[in-house]
Structure formats: C-alpha cells, structure tokens
Amino acid sequence: MSKPKPVPRPAPESAPYWEAAKQHKFEIPHCNACGHYWFPPSASCPQCLSTDFAFTPVSGKGKVYSFVTFHRVYHPAFEQEVPYVVALVELEEGPRLLTNIVGVPVEQVTCEMPVKVVFDDVGDGVSVPKFTPA
C-alpha cells in the first residue's frame, strides 16, 4: 500500500469550500457588494474589501490557463502517479485555481482546453475538485 496523499488542511476561511465539495458542490466566494468572484477563499473581497460575501455555486466550467507535468516524485504518495498534470484552470467566473486534469492522457492537455469539474472522493469524507475535458 503506497503512502496516502496529503489531504487538504483547510484554513478557517476555506472550510466552507471543502464542506461544499464533500457534497460534490462547487462553491467559491462571491462578493455581494461588487459582484467579484475570487479564489482561494479569504475573509474579504480582494477587489473592494467588502466582508459581505457568500460561498456561491458556480458553473464548474473553465479552461486550462497553463499546466505542468510532474515527472519527479516530490512526495512518495505520487510515486505511482508520475507523470501527472497539475493545471491552473481559469473558471468561467474569472478566478483561477490549481487542480489536476484527469480522464485524458497527459500529452493531450493543452492551454485553453475546455474543462469541467469532477469530484475525487479521497476517503474520510474528503472530496477534492479536479477537472476533466468538457
């Protein structure tokens, strides 16, 4: 049995994001004052500094802004995974987030590729949002 992958250890500000992911819901902070969406979560809007915001369901659709392919094993849990892609996905709503691109051979991942969210249940009630070609 290989070593388990690191599980996210949420900061207080991001706990609601991970709670929603458990239910396979994709929700990010949305400012009620100026309408800005942002990621990663923080306790005030980085566009207008308002603290009036809510975790809001978003489309889960976006495109690959950039990506890298890990060949070197940096953590023993990923020994069987290399080569694997870590991508920066730009959501339709604007924010970019780090993720894995799954369900496609690594050599077929490209910038601007349309993708959509899928949820990877990693055990202990934790689900990690990943993306797959749309």
Binding site: P6, A11, S66, V68, F70, R72, V86, L98
Partner: protein, 393 residues
C-alpha cells in the same frame, strides 16, 4: 508613474565584494558562510571592520533577527541594521536600503549579504535528500497544492514557461541556449560549482523534472554566500578597489499573485526596471552586461523581455542568437549564474555586477568596455522583484 528620486543616483558606491566557498561546503552553517563572504568583502575593500556601521542582510527562512547574529560574529555594533524579507529580491533591496540609509545620515558604510546552506540542508541525511526541502514545514501550503501533488518552485515557474510557449512559440531549445551560455561562463570561473561543459544535446537529453523543465532548466542547490560593502562616493575615493557607482535601483512586487492577471508572463521586472532606469537616467540600450536572477531558464527569457532587451515574446530567439554569451549583444550571468555558478538567491549576481564594473578580470571573463551592468533579483512567491544598475565610477 511616480518618479524615483535622481538624488540617489551616483551618490554611493560598492567598495567591497566577496563570496564564500561555493557549492558543497559541508560542516558550515549558512550564518558562517555569510560571515565568510563578508570577511572576504571586507578584505577586498581594504576597510577596517570598525569602519562598518551598518548591516543589512536577509536571513535564512528559519532565522530570527539574522543581522544581529551577523553583527555578533563580526564583533561590531551598528548604527543601522535590519534583516529583510522579500525573497530573492531582498539582496538588491539591501543595497538600495544601504544607499538610502547613507543618504539619510543613518550610517556611513554598510555591509550587505546573504548566505544559504541549501546543498547541505538537503543532503545532510538520506531522509533530507529524499524530502529535498529547504523550507521549514510551517511555511509549506496546507491546501490548494499538496493534495494535487503540486510542490516546489520548479513547478511554479514551469507554469510561466508553458504559458509563454503557448503564447509566443517559445521552445525548449530557446531555454537550452540560456543554460548552455551560462555553463560556458561558469567554466571560466574557478569558484563555480559546475565544472563540466554542457551541450545543447545534453540539455535536451536530461531527465525531465516538471515539464517543460528538465534538469538543466533548474538552478543549483548550493551552499553559497555573497556580500558587498556600500559607502558614500567621497569615502569610496581613497579605498583599495576601483569604486563601482550605484546609479539606480527599483523594486516592484506583483502581490496580486503569480497565478493572477498576466503576472507569470509580464513579471514585476518590468516596473522594477523602469524605475531603476529612470533613477539612473539610462535605458536598456545603455546596458552592457546583465546579471539576471536565473532560478530557472524561463525567468531569464521573461526578464530579457521585461527589461526591454527584447520585445515581449522574443526573449527566446534573443537568447538563441548567442546574445547572452561573452562577445554577444548582452553578455549575461558572466560568472555562470545560479544555473551554473551557485545559487545564493541573487547575491552572487550583485557581486558579479560589481566585479564586471571594476575591469580587473582577465580578458576571458571581462565584458569588454562594459560601462553599465544591470542586476536583478526575483523571488518570494515568484512575484517580488528588484533591480540594481551599476556603473563605472
């Protein structure tokens, strides 16, 4: 844009420069490596230790009030001292802050430096070698990274490389020319960590690390330190070395984040460079040699563009044209840089810029007739940047 003060241009000089032993220096702490470089800089300058009344340095990641421990080892009090924290941009900020402190009358002669023990720290035990970590665990992300297998600075910068390749057709071959040119320079530097030649074919054959980066796109794990001494132009006149004038400096930090806006394509070098050029009263065409923060090959390509040596998107072909080699349009990282000399987070680039301006190198290492050197610092979470422009006094 706010104009930088030209009153700070050409009022101070670097009068001493030194490096520690570089590469694999087991059994020495980063603190003592730094003090070794400082001793060498002091000897180089001909100053007495009691002449130094300022200490500005950046500490290693796990040290508190590092400059106080440096002062203890040098056996001096100081009128102006602090430890800076702006990643690889800190080293030039030290020199900039020294100039400002001298102008303000808070100090007369300031020693600046940085040292690290990244090779020893990652090789002290087999476990340390496997973990390959230079940062303490408290500084590592706990979410939005590790669960995806995202670790380290190689991957962070590789994102910029992928995007640049997508937008402009930049190739691995272009990056390879950066690595090969700097290795050529390192072979003329007896202190350099890397001693063997590197061909473009070997660059392409090397193991991939985090694609698009392979082994030779990545800077070195080094035990390494550098130091310089800054004083007023008046004091500099009668010292041992030809003084090297501090003509301008600038900083910029894209703290909106490396992953946001187009920060991984147009880096903070752009605004930092514009500020430094204005303070110095020069432009990119006046620069004879560049000492760029080369943590990864792509960062050299991006900075060549952001500093105006090539248009955005044309940094790769510029590097491939041979421009970075001795005798080229812009001999760059003439000591071998962090890719081939040693990695002291930009401090050795400052040291090399100073040495090029002295014109005391043998011909094979000297950029002929060089009057202006541009030095850069970059780092933190890829977003902070600083620029130093040095000239013949």
């Amino acid at each position: 844009m706010i104009e930088p003060s030209r009153d700070l241009s050409d009022i101070c000089a670097v009068v001493g420069a030194g490096n520690s032993r570089l590469g694999r220096v087991p059994g020495v702490s980063s603190l003592d490596l730094l003090v070794e470089a400082m001793r060498n800089a002091i000897a180089d300058s001909g100053l007495k230790i009691s002449d130094i009344d300022g200490i500005i340095c950046r500490g290693p990641d796990d040290s508190y009030c590092h400059h106080q421990r440096v002062g203890e080892r040098l056996g001096i009090n100081n009128r102006f001292g602090t430890t800076l924290d702006n990643g690889g941009a800190s080293q030039i900020m030290s020199v900039a802050l020294a100039t400002m402190a001298i102008k303000a009358g808070l100090a007369t002669t300031v020693i600046c430096g940085y040292g690290r023990d990244a090779w020893s720290r990652t090789h002290v035990t087999e476990e340390a070698r496997v973990r390959n970590e230079t940062r303490p665990s408290s500084q590592r992300p706990q979410e939005f990274g590790p669960e995806y297998g995202y670790f380290g600075a190689v991957a962070a910068h590789a994102f910029g490389a992928t995007r640049h390749m997508h937008l402009y057709g930049t190739t691995r071959d272009h990056f390879g020319h950066v690595a090969v040119a700097f290795r050529e320079h390192a072979l003329r530097n007896p202190d350099a960590q890397m001693k063997k030649p590197l061909t473009l074919a070997q660059y392409h054959e090397a193991q991939p690390i985090v694609a698009p980066f392979g082994l030779f796109d990545c800077s070195l794990r080094s035990d390494a330190a550098g130091a310089v001494i800054v004083t007023s132009k008046e004091r500099a006149r009668d010292l041992k070395q030809p003084p090297v004038s501090i003509k301008g400096f600038g900083t910029h930090n894209n703290t909106t984040g490396w992953f946001n806006n187009d920060n991984m394509i147009v880096t903070a070098a752009k605004q930092s460079g514009e500020t430094a050029y204005k303070m110095a009263g020069i432009g990119p065409d006046d620069v004879d040699t560049a000492q760029l923060y080369d943590c990864f090959t792509y960062m050299v390509v991006a900075q060549l563009e952001d500093y105006g040596f090539a248009k955005k998107g044309e940094g790769g072909p510029f590097a491939a044209s041979g421009a970075l080699r001795m005798g080229g349009r812009l001999p760059t990282n003439t000591s071998g840089g962090q890719l081939s000399e040693s990695h002291a987070e930009g401090m050795l680039q400052v040291v090399e810029g100073v040495r090029q301006m002295r014109h005391t190198y043998p011909a094979e290492r000297q950029v002929k007739d060089a009057e202006i050197a541009l030095v850069s610092g970059h780092g933190g979470n890829q977003v902070c940047h600083s620029t130093l422009i040095l000239g013949r006094a």
